[in-house]
């Protein structure tokens, strides 16, 4: 649960942001680059001092936790490890800081698949291996809450599938899993809830299905040889756009209403189906107005 503001000089990175992350779910934390995701996560972990407000984990401020690693496991970017230290020693030092038994280090190395390279220096690790080590560090204290910043970065397909299963499993065990990502398709598969921010402000906080449903443009794909139908639909107030694949994308009336209209003007219909928005579509529409640095212009969203 958070209500916080964070400023760097006159730049407001996080502006009066407030949301809750419930246990038993994977909650995706979404937002464009520079929207304040990492800052928010650092504030949760007590690493950045908020200008106003603050974050609480299980009702407590982070620095009030007696053994933080046993409550909150965190990953803030890969490579947060001394390159000359072995994976084993990195985890051992962390384990000792919270009085976690040494054998747990071996368990965790097994879980993240680094047992065979445990005695190798982390400097020689690939990005994906570094990411696994970071996830191992997060799991070390068997925490109830996980805060992971971009955990799929640098992982290959197998690694991404692994982490998806892992995160869902952790949530199914009743843990709170809070994951940031810029990969919408991945989040759609992994998360069941989302918190969306833009320019440091909350844009949405909802279940993934509910979020897509509420923000979808209600588009229907229609393929028909009859130009009359298009005129008829437009007369009904529908927005009709040409789809690159040849048909139309109709905004407004649902499939039943379109079929009725086709029957009335005697038009044949070759294809008629609702277009389901993806998380990415909805996210792009919502964050369009709050994107800080726009790469390039793209099609006007159909709404």
């Amino acid at each position: 649960m958070t209500t916080l503001t964070k400023r760097y000089g006159s730049t407001v990175a996080v502006d009066d942001l407030s949301f809750a992350v419930p246990p038993g779910h994977v909650t995706g934390f979404l937002g464009p680059n520079g929207s304040g995701k990492s800052t928010t996560m650092r504030v949760i972990l007590g690493l950045d001092a908020p200008t106003a407000g603050g974050a609480r984990v299980l009702g407590r401020r982070y620095d009030e936790l007696a053994a933080p690693l046993r409550v909150v496991g965190s990953l803030l970017g890969a490579r947060a490890v001394h390159p000359a230290r072995t994976a084993y020693d990195h985890l051992l030092a962390l384990a000792r800081s919270n009085r976690i038994p040494r054998r747990r280090v071996d368990d965790v190395l097994e879980v993240v698949g680094l047992s065979e390279v445990a005695r190798r220096r982390a400097g020689g690790f690939s990005l994906g291996m570094g990411q696994r080590l970071g996830i191992g560090a997060a799991l070390l204290g068997d925490p109830e809450v996980l805060v992971l910043d971009e955990p799929v970065n640098g992982l290959d397909t197998a690694g991404i599938r692994w982490i998806r299963t892992l995160l869902k499993g952790l949530a199914a065990e009743g843990r709170t899993v809070f994951v940031s990502s810029h990969l919408m398709s991945e989040m759609e598969l992994t998360a069941d809830r989302v918190v969306v921010i833009g320019r440091g402000r909350l844009i949405a906080e909802a279940g993934v299905a509910e979020f897509i449903e509420a923000n979808s443009g209600r588009l229907t794909f229609v393929r028909s040889p009859a130009a009359d139908l298009r005129t008829a639909l437009e007369r009904m107030g529908a927005g009709v756009e040409l789809d690159p694949s040849g048909g139309w994308r109709v905004a407004g009336p649902n499939a039943a209403a379109i079929a009725e209209a086709a029957r009335r003007c005697g038009a044949a219909i070759h294809e008629l189906r609702p277009i389901r928005s993806s998380l990415e579509d909805v996210y792009s529409q919502l964050t369009d107005m709050s994107v800080e640095y726009r790469g390039h212009d793209h099609e006007e969203p159909v709404a």
Binding site: R42, L45, G46, L47, D48, A49, Y62, D63, L65, A66, A67, P68, L69, R70, V72, S74, L76, G77, R79, A80, V81, H82, P83, A84, R85, T86, D89, L92, A93, L94, R96, S97, N98, R99, I100, P101, R103, R104, D107, E110, V111, V112, G113, L114, S115, E116, V117, M129, R132, A137, L139, G141, D142, G159, W162, T165, L166, G169, L170, E173
Partner: protein, 266 residues
């Protein structure tokens, strides 16, 4: 890489947890001994004093009124101070550089505990290395220099004081490293702390003895009863009270570092 498993079930019972000072010291010790370069630096620190004692004794580069104790210990003292400071600073700057500090602070959010643990580990390491090293340097001097031409000097507890002075600058290095944040900057600052008093103090007239007396080199000169330790150069305060002054500004620097670590983002 082996195939990662997706079970997170805890095979090992985790017992009671705590992230206090003892745990932090354990953790810092594990980190220290698992990086080869810091262990190597500590080893180098151990060889500097006896090595320079050999050089000084072999070349006879000491004043007629100097003590054997002073001549054998002071030769490598400045270099040993810089090494000790670098060792302390590296404990912090290497973590800031690699982002490991975030992991450390997430595991132990209390900044004072983290810095105190780092200071404790570096102090223990430097004491364990510097004391035998100072003894060895003195032994070299006694063996190689003519005891009839030079006063021996009183080695105890002076040699312990020399080791403690090196402990002090190593802890100062932890503080400087935290405040300056970069290895190169921290080492430069440490070199400044070691060498500047000797360069600047003679320019200050009556204030020379104050600056000289509170400098580490001044403290070491007093401890070893060196001929350099004239009242004009380093004041009339005794060796141990002077060491107390050094310990006091070291502690103040570390407290400043705690403040910086609390109020800056990592």
């Amino acid at each position: 890489m082996s195939t990662p498993s997706t079970t997170t079930a805890v095979a090992t019972p985790l017992g009671e947890g705590r992230a206090g000072f003892r745990e932090a010291v354990w953790s810092e010790w594990t980190k220290f001994r698992s990086v080869r370069s810091s262990v190597a630096l500590a080893g180098l620190l151990g060889t500097v004093l006896p090595l320079f004692a050999v050089v000084v004794a072999a070349t006879g580069s000491l004043q007629p009124d100097d003590t054997i104790l002073g001549a054998s210990v002071l030769g490598g003292a400045a270099i040993a101070q810089v090494l000790a400071a670098s060792l302390g600073a590296a404990l912090v700057t290497s973590e800031l550089r690699t982002g490991t500090m975030r992991v450390t602070l997430a595991a132990c959010p209390r900044r004072l505990v983290v810095l105190a643990a780092k200071a404790t580990v570096v102090a223990a390491v430097v004491l364990a290395v510097a004391l035998p090293s100072a003894l060895a340097a003195f032994a070299v001097g006694v063996a190689m220099l003519d005891g009839d031409s030079y006063a021996t000097g009183d080695p105890f507890p002076a040699l312990l004081g020399v080791a403690l002075a090196l402990v002090s600058i190593a802890v100062l290095g932890v503080g400087i490293g935290t405040i300056v944040r970069h290895s190169a900057g921290a080492v430069a600052a440490a070199v400044g702390v070691v060498l500047l008093p000797g360069l600047v103090a003679p320019l200050l007239g009556f204030a020379q003895r104050w600056l000289g007396g509170a400098s580490l080199s001044g403290v070491m000169q007093k401890l070893t009863q060196s001929s350099d330790a004239s009242v004009e150069a380093v004041g009339s305060l005794g060796a141990w009270p002077s060491l107390g002054i050094v310990a006091a500004y070291t502690a103040a620097t570390v407290l400043g570092a705690v403040w910086a670590l609390r109020h800056r983002d990592t």
